[in-house]
Structures are given as C-alpha cells and as structure tokens.
C-alpha cells in the first residue's frame, strides 16, 4: 500500500477536524446539531474569494510567497472572511436560532438549521452559480520526502496552520476565563447560570470560533480541491461523524476524530476506490453509535 494516503488523510482530516470543532462547540454549548455549519464553510470560502479578487483589482497581480501558490492577499482575505463568517453565524443566531432556543425545543432548532442550510447554499448558487472555481490554477510540484510520500509546499503550510489553530483553540478553552465559562455552560447550564456566567457572551464567542474555523477549513478545501457552493454541505457528514467519534464537547476529540476519518477515507480511496469515500464517515459513525456512543473523549450525558 502506498504511504501517500497518510499525507492525503492528514490534510482531509485537518479540514474535517477544523469544521468539527465548530460542530462540537455548538452542540455542547447551544445544544443542537447545526446543519448549516457546512454552509458557513462555503460562505467563508466565497467571502475569501471576493476579498482576494477585490485586492487583486486594487493592487494588481501580487507575486506568491516563496514556493506557495498564494500571496499575502489570500492571508489578509482569510482573516477578513473569518470575521465575516463569525458575524454571519452570529446574525443567523440572532434572527433565527436564539428565538427558537428560547421556546425550549432543541429539535425545532435543528430543523430550522436544516432550512437555513438549504437557503444559504442555494443563495450561494444564485450569486456565484454552481460552476467550480479556484484560488489559483497554478500546479505545484510535489516534493518527495521518502517512503514514496510526496508533499507540496501548500500542503505543508496548511498542516502548520491547522496545528497552530488547534493549539490556539485548546489554549483558549483551557487557559482563559471565557473558555472555562464555555466548558462550565456545556457541562451544567443551570449551575453555570447560577454562578453568574455571562451566557450571551459565551454564545457569541462560540459562534465566532465556530464560524472562523469553518471559514479556514473551507479555504483549505478551496486551495487544495476546488470552490463550489456544495463544498461545505458535502463535509457535513464527516464533520458530524468526527464530532461524535471524538466525543461531543471535546475540542481535541473533534480534531482527533477528524484526523481518524480523514485517514480512513484516504486509505479507503486506495483500497476500495474513490467513489466510496463518502460512505466511510457513515460506517465509522454507525460503528461509534453501536459500540461507544459517547465517543473517545466524551462524558456520559446527564
């Protein structure tokens, strides 16, 4: 078996894992599975694309950084778009989810997120059509690193970015007051309210983190694969599976779950063929639900 699947799997796993952090946070803190999360990914990517084009229109063609396929405009654009996606998630919460949450039926919120997902995705299709686009059409030369594995400079950069982001979110969750409030709210909402945790603030931070990371994951897909309105929706099942495999509420779990699913998908491409890769997350999901429904790092529900 060709070991190349390790790199491919780690990259897919990074995209899934970054998205799954948002899924697991919304699930554990706001208590619903957000079916619109994949569409945040796509919106973030198209926002990045829009900012890149705007910068291109103002400054002309910018040379890429070293061996990478993109230059500083993309980095600026991602930061702007992360903010945009976070605000988009916040706005959707304000007009839709928060009001339904107040009625106290979590499954109605899930249904609304399903409707919102359809509307968001089709709106993207309306604005940008369903034709795929790319950040760059340049083809990168993959460098051999031994054992028959090859890797491109873009892929190295993205793996580093993922590691930094995951480390950052983990630090935020464990070392800051906000992060500890988030954990408290996910473990015992009633008690958290009693001790005076600012719930509105925690909800805001949750959406900003989830939206921002979804945007980065989407841009990674855009750089490595292609940009389509459906790109996020196709990631929804792997992201849910990763969040459940890692254990709902656990940030390291979501990332590890994402990596496991990414590696399994990449291995499956070699063993049984690329057309079946989307079934892998479903098989893992069902296996987890039958064997260990609380996931790897999950806490039993009270």
């Amino acid at each position: 078996m060709n070991l190349q699947f390790i790199i491919d799997g780690l990259l897919t796993g990074s995209m899934i894992g970054l998205g799954a952090i948002g899924v697991t946070l919304t699930y554990s803190i706001l208590r619903f599975s957000n079916f619109a999360h994949g569409d945040f990914m796509a919106w973030g990517t198209y926002a990045t694309l829009a900012v890149v084009s705007a910068i291109g229109a103002i400054f002309g063609k910018v040379a890429p950084i070293g061996p990478l396929s993109f230059g500083w405009p993309l980095i600026v654009a991602v930061i702007v778009a992360m903010g945009f996606t976070g605000v988009l998630a916040l706005a959707l919460d304000k007009v839709l989810f928060a009001r339904l949450r107040a009625k106290g039926q979590s499954i109605i919120v899930v249904m609304a997120s399903f409707g919102a997902s359809m509307a968001l995705r089709s709106l993207l299709e309306f604005l940008f059509t369903s034709r795929p686009t790319y950040f760059s059409r340049a083809i990168q030369i993959a460098m051999p690193v031994g054992f028959g594995i090859r890797i491109t400079p873009d892929q190295i950069a993205l793996l580093i970015v993922t590691a930094l982001l995951v480390f950052g979110v983990h630090m935020l969750m464990t070392r800051t007051q906000t992060g500890r409030s988030m954990q408290a709210l996910s473990q015992n909402p009633a008690l958290a309210r009693v001790v005076g945790i600012n719930v509105a603030n925690v909800v805001r931070v949750t959406w900003l983190i989830g939206g921002g990371l979804a945007c980065v994951a989407g841009v990674m897909i855009g750089i490595l694969v292609q940009i389509r309105p459906l790109m996020g929706f196709d990631m929804l099942l792997p992201m849910f599976a990763a969040a459940i495999l890692g254990g709902i509420g656990s940030v390291p779990g979501a990332v590890l779950g994402g990596l496991i699913i990414g590696l399994a998908e990449a291995a499956a491409v070699q063993l049984i063929g690329a057309e079946w890769r989307a079934a892998i997350s479903f098989i893992i999901l069902m296996a987890v639900l039958f064997i260990r429904p609380i996931g790897l790092f999950g806490v039993r529900e009270r």
Binding site: F35, R99, V110, G115, M118, L285
Partner: protein
C-alpha cells in the same frame, strides 16, 4: 379543457404521492417526535427495491424479477421498513440529534450506492422500463392519468385510514405519551426505545411505498430523484400542514406542491433559459426562508395538534409565557 383535466390529474397524482411520504414523516415526527432528515434515502430504497422486483430481466444488472407491481410495492415497504428499524436500533437510545445525523448519513449513502453500484442500480443512468399500472391505456393520456390518479387515491385512503387507526389505537397513545412525557410513559412500563423503533420502521415503510408508487408512475428512476431537496420539500409540507395531523400532512403536500410547481412555472416564464438554473436556486432560498418563518411564527402549521412541550430547564420560556398571558 381535456388538457386541463389531464394536467390536473397529473398534478394531483404527483402531489398525492408526496403526501404518502409526508404521512410517513408525520408518524415519525408528528406523532413520535423522531427527527428524520434523510427521508429521501428511504424513498429511494423503496423505489429501487420495487424497480428491481418488477422490471424484466436485464443483461448486466442484478435482478429484474418480472414480478407483479403489488409485490414490488410490498417489497419496497418491507426493505425500507427494515432499513429504518436498523437505524432506529442504533440511534434511538441516544439523544434525538443522533437520529438526525444518522438519517442524514443514510440519505448520503443511499445516493452513493445508487450512483456507484451500477450492477444493482444502473448507476447514474438509473433504471428504465419500470412497468406502469394501466399501461394499456397509455394511448389515451386523459384516461391513463385519471386511472393512475384513481389508484393513488385508493392507496392513499388505505394508508390514511390505517394510520388514523394506528394513532387512535393503544399503540398510538403510547407513542403520544412518549412524545409528551417520556418519564411518565416509561414509569407505566412502556419500553420507549422499542416503541420508537416500531414507529420509525412503520414510517420508513410508508416512505418506501411512496418511492415505489412514484417509480411505477413515472416508469423511470435515477439517483437525481432522491437528492436532499426532496427531504426538504417534504419537511416543509409537513410543517405547513401541521405536525401531528394526518389530514394536515395531505393538505400541506398538495398546497406546497402547488406553490412549488407554480413558482417553477413562473420562473420559466420570467427568466431566460440561461438564467433558469439560477432562478431555481432562488426558488429554494424562498422555500427555506418560508420554513424558518413558519417555525418562528406558527410552528403548529395549519392543522397542527402538537402541543408545545414545557421544559423544566428553560426559564426564558416561562417569562415568554408570562408576557403572553399579560398581553391577552
């Protein structure tokens, strides 16, 4: 005039086939509170099962058993019901969201199998030459359409009365009790999981039947018939009609299908052919927003009888209710 009657019969047949799916969903969600966002998968399972059982033997594809249509329908119900039961066993002891995620996965996987298992499903080309009831009337379209409408109405009445009977039976009362107050129902010695699996399986079987009826009505199936948009349409139908009411499920289906077909016709008049794909996506945006607004403003729909559950840990809800009572 004859054309209008013919189209009316065709429109109503299509809408009523949707209402089978909506009835199945109403049993799962409206009555039992089980959230199925992969119903397109169960419809597809039914359609493909029935197609495999009833089509004549084809070279290069499994099956083609050339059985009567009724056997196909029955097989569709059994296989779709079995699939639902397996999903139910895996997820129904867990929090409700897990069912949503798993059913979503079912739809993805069924779509994948339909596209890639060429030997079984014909792949992207689908399965053609599915026997149609009353095909000997096909020369006179009007008669053919009316006959098809007739058979769909008869089947719908049977399913409708069967479901109404189930709702009023002790079995249905247990389901409602579980939906309203799980602890109380369990304390009366009812196994929540067992009843839910049953309800989910019966609902899945009805959805499978819908898929089979549709396959035989059109005479051709392909993976594209069973995209997530189907799930979405049926959900809107049930929410508009009112969760919990079988009557609402049928009325909602006809109403929403009328809006859908009408707006489709409108966009084809208003937009040039190149713009029509874009206009169609705007149509979906409109329906999505409509679903969200109904959920916010009138979650009960037209005929809904699903009382709002009171939750012990939602203090905001209490203040909202206080405000309401103060206002009235």
């Amino acid at each position: 005039m004859m054309d209008i009657i013919g189209y009316g019969a065709f429109f109503l047949t299509t809408a009523l086939i949707f209402s089978f799916i909506t009835l199945g969903l109403n049993l799962q969600w409206g009555l039992t509170g089980l959230f199925n966002v992969g119903l397109a998968g169960f419809v597809a399972i039914g359609a493909y099962t029935s197609a495999l059982l009833t089509t004549p033997d084809t070279a290069g594809r499994f099956g083609g058993f050339d059985l009567p249509i009724l056997v196909g329908w029955l097989g569709a119900m059994i296989i779709a019901g079995l699939a639902a039961a397996i999903i139910g066993v895996a997820t129904l002891r867990l929090k409700s969201d897990y069912l949503a995620i798993t059913t979503f996965g079912v739809a993805v996987v069924v779509q994948l199998v339909a596209l890639n298992a060429q030997k079984l499903t014909g792949g992207p080309f689908g399965i053609g030459f599915i026997p149609r009831p009353f095909s000997n009337l096909a020369e006179t379209p009007l008669l053919f359409n009316l006959a098809n409408l007739g058979i769909v109405v008869v089947a719908l009445l049977i399913v409708y009365f069967a479901l109404e009977h189930l709702v009023k039976s002790p079995w249905g009362r247990v389901l409602k009790a579980l939906r309203e107050d799980e602890r109380a129902a369990i304390s009366l010695g009812k196994s929540a999981r067992f009843y839910r699996v049953q309800a989910f399986a019966v609902g899945g079987a009805v959805m499978g039947l819908a898929g089979a009826i549709q396959a035989h009505f059109i005479g051709f199936i392909a993976p594209d018939n069973y995209l997530p948009i189907l799930t979405f349409q049926v959900w809107v139908m049930l929410i508009v009609g009112g969760s919990g009411s079988n009557k609402g499920a049928i009325v909602g289906s006809v109403l929403v299908w009328a809006i859908w077909a009408g707006s489709g016709a409108l966009t084809s008049i208003l937009f040039s052919p190149e713009q029509q794909a874009r206009a169609a996506s705007l149509q979906i945006v409109a329906i999505g927003i409509m679903l969200c607004i109904i959920l916010l403003v009138r979650p009960g729909g037209l005929f809904g009888n699903m009382p709002r559950r009171r939750s012990a840990v939602a203090p905001q809800q209490k203040t909202a209710e206080d405000k309401n009572s103060a206002a009235s």
